[in-house]
Amino acid sequence: MTADFQISAGFMPLLDSMLLVAAQEKGFAAAESIELRLVRETSWANIRDRLAVGQFEVAHMLAPMALAAALGLTPIPSPTIAPMALGLGGNGITVSTDLWERLLAAGAPSGLEAAGTGAALKQVAAGGRLRFGVVHPYSAHNYELRYWLSACGVHPEADVEIVVLPPPLLPDALASGAIDGYCVGEPWNSVAVAAGAGRIATVKSAIWRSSPEKVLGVRRDWAEQHPQALAALLRSLYRAALWCGAPENAAEAAAMLGQKHYLDLPPALIEHGLTGQLALGDGRVEPVEDFFLPQARAATYPSTSHALWFYSQMVRWGQVGHAEERARQVEACYRPDLYRAALAPLRVPVPAAMAKIDGFFDGQAFDPARLQDYLDAQRRADAAIAHFG
């Protein structure tokens, strides 16, 4: 029997590629008559370019990268839509063992609490310019690291340096002393911990509870020409997410992802992020609630509130100037309508429209209906720490 739909998908070796991997390995794609071809990539730039020229129909993609494409910020034109999210959370901020010693001396708490560790970091950062790695300028990692630093009074440009490195190279860069810390998706925090090179200082879910991360990036022209194929794929990924989110599947999922052609890592390392039982790097294993959510809390719903929050950070850090028209382009990139239509036959609950979001560790909330106020408040706060921090 041949499949009705052939779909090529690029992915990076990260925990949240597991929805695509499970759709393939557990037969959810085949059940929708999809022949899914998964291609591991070495850079986000390759994901972007191969999607743009039609080598991939869909891809595991940094959410802000899809928005950058929508805003015309990519080097080659690449109309991309995001009809589904690929989970919530999943990142950590890992620091070198040396920096962790200094943070402890400056009063950092022993857990993963964002505010206390950030306060210690503010003291340490004053003693010398620290360098942090993120995976891409247009990434949730970049924005959450910057959000955390700023909220703790550390200006992410004036007080520290932020460089870009691909996920698999970050643990080595930390071990060699090239960087002092980094923000990355699992399992690349656990890899540094296992190598004895780092300590997890805080996590994405501690900075912003249930926060957005990757999306399924889809070439817009392909989506328009193949609506049935896309709907079938979204349903198969939804079922894959249900499977991924079931705790009893954790061991199997870790073994599946650990295979050579996926993450090529020991399953035990992958299981930390999957179960939220994080080995911090000081011998302790800390259970982190909601560390990574592949399915619960509407984790696959492409919320335009999330898109607009990412946009607010692109504006905040000077990647794009704010204009009402650009905010509308960002909203139009996320396609909850396609998600809703595709999942209708499954009769599963789908969230309602755009909503105010909170859960930030500093007590702030983001109301997408008051974007301008949010941008103004952040500009004032950033100017204050840049000058007096």
Partner: protein, 196 residues
Amino acid sequence: MPPSDISILVIDENRLRAAIIENGLREAGHRQVSVIHEVGEAARTIVSLAPDVVVIDLENPNRDRIEHFFSLSRSLRRPIAMFVDSSDAATIEAAVEAGVSAYVVDGLRKERVKPILDMAISRFNAFARLTRELEQARSELEDRKLIDRAKSILMRTRGLGEDEAYALLRRTAMNQNRRIAEIAQSLITASDLLEP
């Protein structure tokens, strides 16, 4: 300006392929060609050379880092964009297909850069073809070694002549719809297991 006035930087971890590209550029009359293999050197080299064109292979895991560096670099007088002209979709596709990407300073005219990119594309393709052929030759040699070993096992254990042994392997492969080398490998494995 003549071709020799364009400064080109080739970043490729594959030294052989980098040399092939460099040769092609020199043959085309380019005199300012630099090659680096380690991305660690890229930042410093880009600042000192201020290249007009950067050619990089797509396997390089550091593309994101390099793009970020371009976006930050104040030392580059003009911003660097990808490819010659983003409207030239066919060239972009051919480049990605071939596994190469290029960054070009803003304002450099398309007709000046396109030959460079076309050359890189054709040399990347030729290199890939060569690698494939080598790989194929290597695996054919491996296959032949396996088949020879399997034949000698059959000749020894079943008292067959060389041609008969081969015919048996071939018949078995056809019946099972597998390659002769696979049958040979199975036979060798089984024989190893059964050896006293």
